[in-house]
Amino acid sequence: MTTIDEQSAPIAIPIRPDETKVERNERLRLLLHSPTFLMGCVLAGTWVLCAIFGYLIAPKDPETPDVLNKLVGPSADHIFGTDRLGRDVLSRVIVGARSILIIAPLATILGTVFGTAIGLVTGYYRGIVDEATMRLVDAILAIPLIITALLAVVALGPSRITLILVIGFVFTPIIAKTVRAAVLGEAQLEYVQAARLRNERGPYVMFAEILPNVTGPIIVEFTVRLGYAIFAVATLSFLGFGADPSIPDWGQDISQHYQFINGGVWWAVLFPSLAIATLIIGINLIADAISQVFER
């Protein structure tokens, strides 16, 4: 065969480095150089460590009551003071990280998985399915979180699982909307048509062709949602929808002590509240940094 083109000449083909890998490394580099991200990691990381090693780090047993030392203010013995049963607030704050850091991520994962699936299907198929699902999604978005939670608690009883299901359910439509928007753009690209031109079935096109190209927005949405999930878990357990009263929990601790604030007992409310606040701030800082890197 005669040579007729650019490659036939003995010239090394300039292969570029794998852009997806380079891109990944570049993103990582940007993240590690971002003060926002590092600050977020410090804040959230502290609480993750507390969640993992809670009982080991806690200076006192968080569950043993000490009736003689009820509602004692911060002192050398109890840095954060004691609660209404005389339990050490510092220890309870440290150990309380576990419950919230289990429920919130699980709920967010649940919402992301379902939201992604719904977003892919509606964004790819469009038409009546899309219309119907999206109106349903709008309807769900209109129901306040508290109402959904109340109904779920009535139906399923208060438990951690109920909390996860409720928050996951509330997040699903929000994530579905984000994913759908991304999929709408992707589905216009010709590689999707090329897939149709080799008799590819819908699920393959959605999950093997489109999904890998919309991971960016999904990751961003996930981290943003995680912050909201922490807040939702704290709110619901404050309202008593959540967990087992025997497990230390920030929201629950606040709800059991806010009545004493008027009596000057601020420490039993302030410290768990600060814990919630710092964790949310930490996660939001991380989410901010990630979305900046992905949407750059």
Binding site: T3, A9, I15, D18, E190, R198, N199, P212
Partner: protein, 677 residues
Amino acid sequence: MSETAIELQDLEIAYRVRGLDRRVLRGVSFAIGQGESYGLVGESGCGKTTAAFAIMRYLPRNAKILNGSIRLNGEDILGMGGGKVRRLHATTLSMVYQNPASALNPSIRIGPQLTEVFELMGVAKEEALHQSDAMLHKVQISDPQRVMRRYPHQLSGGMQQRVVIAMALAKNPTLLILDEPTTGLDATVEAEVLDLIAALRQEFGTSVLFISHNLAVIAKMCERVGVLYAGRLVEEGVAQEVFRDPRHPYTVGLLRCIPRGGVRKDETALDTIPGFLPGLGADLPGCVFEPRCGLAKEVCREQEPDLYPLGHGRASRCHFHDRAHELPRVAPARLPAVQAANGQPLLEVANGSKTFKQDGQDVQALVDVSLVVRPGEVLGLVGESGSGKTTLARVLLGLSAPDEGSILEMDGERLAGKVEKRSTEQVRSLQIVFQNPDGALNRRHSVRRIVGRALEKLLGMKGRDRDKRAVELAESVRFDQALMGAKPAQLSGGLKQRVAIARAFAGEPRIVLCDEPTSALDVSVQAAILNLLVELQTQKGVSYVFISHDLGVVRYISDRIAVMYLGRLQEVGDAETVFGGPHHPYTEALLSAVPTLEGEERARIRLKGEIPSAADPPSGCVFHTRCPRFLGEICVQEEPPLAEVEPGHLMRCHIPVDELRRLQGEARAVAQSKTTT
């Protein structure tokens, strides 16, 4: 040459990418005289736009000027501070970009955007409005008051570009930089905008720096031209002379890549330039073109050639400038092309129509198209954007279902409207190469997976068979199998398009639709891809439906041509008949709009205005609103039938073919006598 308007001296610029300075301009010097028009050509990545941005002081933050100077009217502009640069932009420097839609602010009406230019120069508000009105008149916008009330998105691309040109000329600049100003426009609109620029340059006496990859446009618009390659000015001189008698191997190679003068695939193969543009900031001790040059000797590798002056303001940066035309061909002079068989139609469309619903309105994108594709032939499909070419391709492929009553047949068997309802056999037989390989290849999948998956789904191949066949396919499109694991983003545009072609050929198709397969590529890559397509066609005996707005390319590759306008076929016939004439007035206008490197030999016909909206097509003959040979009432009232005017030559026009032959012969004679005198 009169006084110098702008002078670049030894300009050297580097971009800092991932911690390294990469040189993009390696000492570029040129000067543009007062009122002169200077063209800068070269393929993408050669540094054309960087040079323009350096003059505008618009370089991105990671750019560094290593050396050199830019003098505008004798004043150094690289050392200027922010305030002075802003004043420069307000009064003496203007730039027009490729994409007018992004050059205009989408949320401000045209009026305020344009008057702002005058107000910046200190004109009072009332007066600015008057001057804006006058300026829009000058760029041939017939109803300035109405246009000024519009938002940019309400105007067509051609109109937007006129507004941008009006804004650029409003301050009567010393230097106007045009960066690919017509690349995104249709040929007919491009012709008008180019005429307009030429006329305005006469009127204002502005110096122009015209950047384009299109040599013919430069030849038409510029007095002098500089050829840029890898950040080096490799050749310079009077435009006509440079293109007639190039003295640098790169210029020689570029000119050989372009299908021009009506060459066809069975006469001459296009030549190509081997290899690739050196990477950004590559270390090139010798001549920048040496790695790709067929004339290169030892000295070229070691010693950077000077810019040898050749008299008459010409210069070439080549040690062997006197032998540049001896550059050996890379491609064979001829490709073995198949003669299209005159067999049974392979694919047939009858009464093909497609109506879209848009805001409750019916938009007819295709109207009653009847067409056949024969085995082994290339059917070229031409027309402006919005003429329904791509819709027709999508209907043929089954990506969008035609209206009821449309008949699609392959081998005499009905084809379902939707690809999902067709048999694997039918799906395999009809494939497509898309215009933009970036969108056509999944950026997360490797080449092996892209090609392999097509083999799996279309031929049922699995495992080792599939992998072996994928490598064979890659070889047949000259894609190095060492790159099978690469992702699309790692490949150049030409390589990506090869992968897309390999995928289209995976299922052993019988017809491949090519939707502008080379329009996103540089000319040297375009030539290689066109040669590849011709070669594959010979080997596999497939038919192509080749869609392109580049008439030179269509003429080169097609056996038959179909001309579309507003979703209707206007003319169908053998390539030589359609191009040679007598042709439909629309075809005539399209041909006349294309600038040629040989200078204008065709009658100058300009279409007025833009293609009408398909939602509200004109009555009678849909072309009557823009027709240069408009007859009268009959054209408005009655749609002419697509009649066979000669054997195998169909045309939709009320003017009898003999009359057309006479009219067009006369027009050509006039044009030729003009160019010869």
